[in-house]
Symmetry: C2
Subunit: 212 residues, 2 copies
């Protein structure tokens, strides 16, 4: 039913959207939902939704649908959101600070312990209660604070060397905002946020729309 033959990335990328709507439904106190109703919310077809969930085992009940709370809990577990993560950010520019400041991540279990930068002007400053430290001190910090996630918000020129630092210190998950690809070992996961590319795609469709 699952686990041995791994689930395709296409399916995985839909999970967060399900999770988001289930969170909303739960907050509204709705206890039951059908694939058809989820289809209306998410825009995916009902059939696809059932297929997706079945990759992880059948969570639904025939004639009833899905129990919102159960499904939410399952997705939470599948997405690995039932644990807490410690993260650090390298690059204490605006973007790094914005991420450090965003309460939403902490609510989801991702805690930013510290920012790092090499600019003496910002070292020592605090964002909320998160201190900006000297990049030279990052090795011991990571080791002493059980950091699992490294965030990169530097310019692209520094991104690979930051990734190297993360890898050397045993970090297995990197969230990269720099517009460049990274070379890391197989057992390290990199998730990119490609702001440039996203903007370019908007541009493409704007152009395509105008040409019709």
């Amino acid at each position: 039913m699952a686990k041995d033959n791994q689930v395709s990335i296409t399916v995985i990328r839909r999970l967060p959207k399900y999770y988001r709507y289930l969170t909303e439904l739960k907050e509204k106190g709705i206890s039951r939902i059908s694939s058809q109703e989820l289809s209306v919310l998410t825009g995916f077809t009902a059939s696809q939704i059932r297929q997706d969930f079945n990759n992880f085992g059948g969570f639904g009940q025939q004639g009833y649908g899905y129990n919102v709370e159960d499904l939410h809990r399952e997705l939470k577990k599948i997405l690995g959101l039932d644990t807490n993560y410690n993260a650090v950010i390298v690059g204490a520019g605006n973007l790094g600070q914005a991420i450090a400041n965003y309460k939403g991540f902490e609510d989801a279990g991702f805690k930013v312990l510290s920012l790092f930068d090499r600019n003496p002007k910002v070292i020592g400053l605090k964002i909320r209660d998160i201190e900006i430290r000297d990049i030279e001190t990052i090795d011991s910090f990571i080791k002493e604070n059980n950091v699992q996630i490294g965030i990169i918000t530097t310019p692209k020129e520094s991104a690979q060397s930051v990734a190297d630092i993360y890898v050397q210190n045993g970090i297995k998950g990197i969230w990269n905002f720099a517009p460049t690809d990274l070379v890391v070992p197989d057992n390290v996961v990199v998730e990119h946020v490609r702001l440039n590319e996203s903007l370019f795609i908007l541009s493409y469709f704007l152009r395509a729309m105008n040409e019709q």
Copy 2:
């Protein structure tokens, strides 16, 4: 070769990566590249790369490969990056300010003319030379300044109403950072940056990696 039957979204989403590497190659003064070499850089297969380009007409030459400058120019045109766009941002929090501050977008032809917020504490402040204005004044600003792109960096609760304002004022392209879906007319394009979802996917793979 193209234009009538439209190119699939799967292909489109690969274009920015090609464009990024071609920009790098151009900067390095490399004038010629084969699909095989591009494959090494991008991680896509050579065959896929040729197929992708052929959606827009053959840019290459048999026995030679692709001329970097030509291909770069073509992709630039396809992505609509050969024109300049004016943008505004609603939501002058950290994220909005970070985007306003990022020079990279301006270099790519996207100019942020103004930020808008309803918080009196930030109205009147400037990010670089970009003023934060009262959200109440946005209608006339958009009309008077030929704004084509509206960026949303508000909390999710306000996102739809901001989108409505954009649509009412004739904006056809919305870049949404709020973690919510938006309802807009068919002739308006929305591109989402889903930070939460990206982080969740990182979390998924971290979990999956640990369980192996």
